[in-house]
Subunit: 371 residues, 2 copies
């Protein structure tokens, strides 16, 4: 219905993806991993679309990470396989995980506790094959995972590699790279996470615990990898297909690498308070910058002098950074493009992504939602 | 599929609605308006479901407000009528608005500028009937609307009541009531908004401009109305069907009036940092409290000693307000219920609402999304 139309014709707010930029982002990451000698297992959580998954896997539809079971089902139904549900196994989802593991060639789960492992041991797969289980380790990120220095980590790895489960890999998320500014800080986190992971792999070898794979990831660390990451078997970044203002500020990418926008229309002029209203509120953008950017909740593409100062459910308030707003430049009905602070969060607000090439819609992508 | 199941059986994160509480909230608002002598035109933006609309209209399916065209279409398709699209007319949606106005008995739009009115004048309805147009006035809220003291307001009202458009009503949103604490502050905003509106209605009468309706609204002001609101023709609150922590803090409701929860499961224990992880991140809750509650991003129902200190896409971090966490009280796989700070924002994250009575699911509601 929208294919062939210009972006200017879209109903707003509209989430748009520049296919050329997203394709380039995907390709650069593949090339970077290839040069490094490490497999790329892209994370689907940012876009949650089959088309985005196809782009990130270079058309192979093999070797992905998902953050929800809804994503796992969606990608499995869409012909994907070798899917890692990289989430501390939720006890209510064991039966559904088993169904996927019985149906796919390689559906893989993750645990970081003996209790979660017990859930898997108590539900052997009907195929007779072992569950493919990754062990999550926490390399100073402070979210999920066992600290690799904790003796419990090795014990858990040993327990996984017995009976109806097998140790498929070691997984670490360097979410702490999101606190970095600049390449050197990013690389120091990447280096440390890699060292912790490789050291633990060494421990496994010494203990005679077979473990074919090791993976670390985050968009900042995989955008600026360190050479030792080549000793891992794979990496699992996700956001890089779109990038966003946050990644630009961290230093993961350049502004021209950000593939996404939220197009919005001017719906009101309020000279008495030097503001205009646009038809994008937090349902179209999310609140993820918390309004803390110098330009407020987002960047207004091509208008560094504008600030998105406030948002309610369906309204955004824009005013000039300084001085008087020239309302004649922004007539009612005219368009502005917001560059999102956090693409994962903004994408999550949209039932459809308008994918364009040179400003002309070429595809629409529909993300999966829920859990 | 879920009807008849206990809340404890639901996959998490799960957005739940206590039907008894929501029904009581809806009924109380109807009774309050009846006692006040004012019609209730409930706003659908919080839940965006046909079932919620049925509850709020007392089964009449007549007289509602919507915030998006997607809601307008959804409710029209679901048998609703007398729908007010209370949003500054976006120029890209005029044709769709015309279709709805030609199809329904009373589809109504809103403007606050001569330019928006021109859009309607340029597209007369094929039925030959005039467009039903509300004029938005800004009574110190500072979002959309013409200030009623501005001569432009009367001029616009006069222009609306000519030709292919007719002035259906005057609309004011007292969003500034969200900055209040306690009944007295709420009522002072309600009083001021009502006075501005009634004074403008008087101006219209004096100028000989017919205007059958006047409406103000917000959940705080309509939860604690002032007697003069009885001189308006209607009010248009919305959030009250669910209420939330924010409304409790403003003073709109009591904690027991909050009908919604996000159920979540414990997925990790991390004694070294005195934290547990739950399977609800910002995709399940939104970031709307900005983490600024004493208890962080939400309240944990029945556990005032817990704080939701952090959220990423699919993870929430909980720790005790003080002291050591007793992990034995929260085994892996056990459930917690989060009370959302902003129900509109949390509801917007869920593709399905699990509606229960006494902890047993009786209905599932599916909200409309998009624009």
């Amino acid at each position: 219905m929208w294919e062939g139309r210009r972006l200017e014709e879209l109903p707003t707010p509209a989430f748009t993806v520049d296919l050329g930029v997203a394709t380039r982002n995907a390709q650069r990451m593949r090339e970077r991993c290839q040069a490094l000698g490490v497999a790329l297992r892209p994370h689907m959580k940012t876009h949650k679309t089959l088309e985005g998954g196809r782009l990130m896997t270079g058309g192979s539809l093999r070797g992905i990470v998902v953050s929800t079971l809804a994503e796992a089902r969606h990608f499995a139904d869409g012909g994907f396989d070798d899917i890692l549900y990289a989430y501390p196994l939720p006890f209510d989802k064991v039966a559904d995980c088993a169904s996927l593991a019985e149906k796919l060639e390689a559906f893989q789960v993750m645990v970081d506790s003996p209790q979660a492992l017990e859930q898997l041991k108590g539900r052997p797969l009907l195929t007779g094959r072992p569950w493919k289980v990754w062990l999550k380790i926490d390399c100073d990120n402070g979210r999920a995972g066992v600290k690799p220095s904790d003796p419990a980590a090795l014990q858990l790895a040993q327990a996984i590699s017995k009976g109806v489960t097998e140790l498929a890999g070691i997984y670490a998320h360097c979410g702490n790279s999101y606190g970095c500014q600049g390449v050197s800080e990013i690389q120091s986190v990447a280096q440390r996470t890699t060292e912790f992971t490789l050291k633990f792999m060494e421990q496994l070898r010494e203990a005679g615990v077979p473990c074919p794979k090791s993976s670390i990831g985050s968009t900042p660390s995989c955008s600026h990898p360190v050479p030792t990451m080549g000793e891992l078997s794979e990496v699992h970044p996700g956001n890089y297909i779109f990038y966003d203002v946050q990644q630009t500020l961290i230093g993961s990418c350049q502004p021209e690498d950000v593939a996404v926008r939220v197009w919005t229309r001017v719906i009101g002029h309020y000279p008495d308070r030097n503001q205009l209203l646009v038809d994008c509120g937090w349902t179209g953008l999310s609140l993820h910058s918390l309004g803390q950017l110098p330009t407020g909740f987002a960047l207004v593409d091509g208008h560094p002098d504008l600030k998105l100062v406030g948002m309610t459910q369906e309204h955004g308030k824009i005013e000039p950074m300084t001085g008087e707003l020239d309302f004649a430049r922004f007539p009612l009905g005219s368009l502005l493009a917001l560059i999102p602070y956090h693409a994962c969060a903004t994408a999550a607000m949209h039932p459809v992504f308008f994918v364009h090439s040179g400003g002309c819609v070429v595809e629409t992508w529909r993300p999966v939602r829920g859990w």
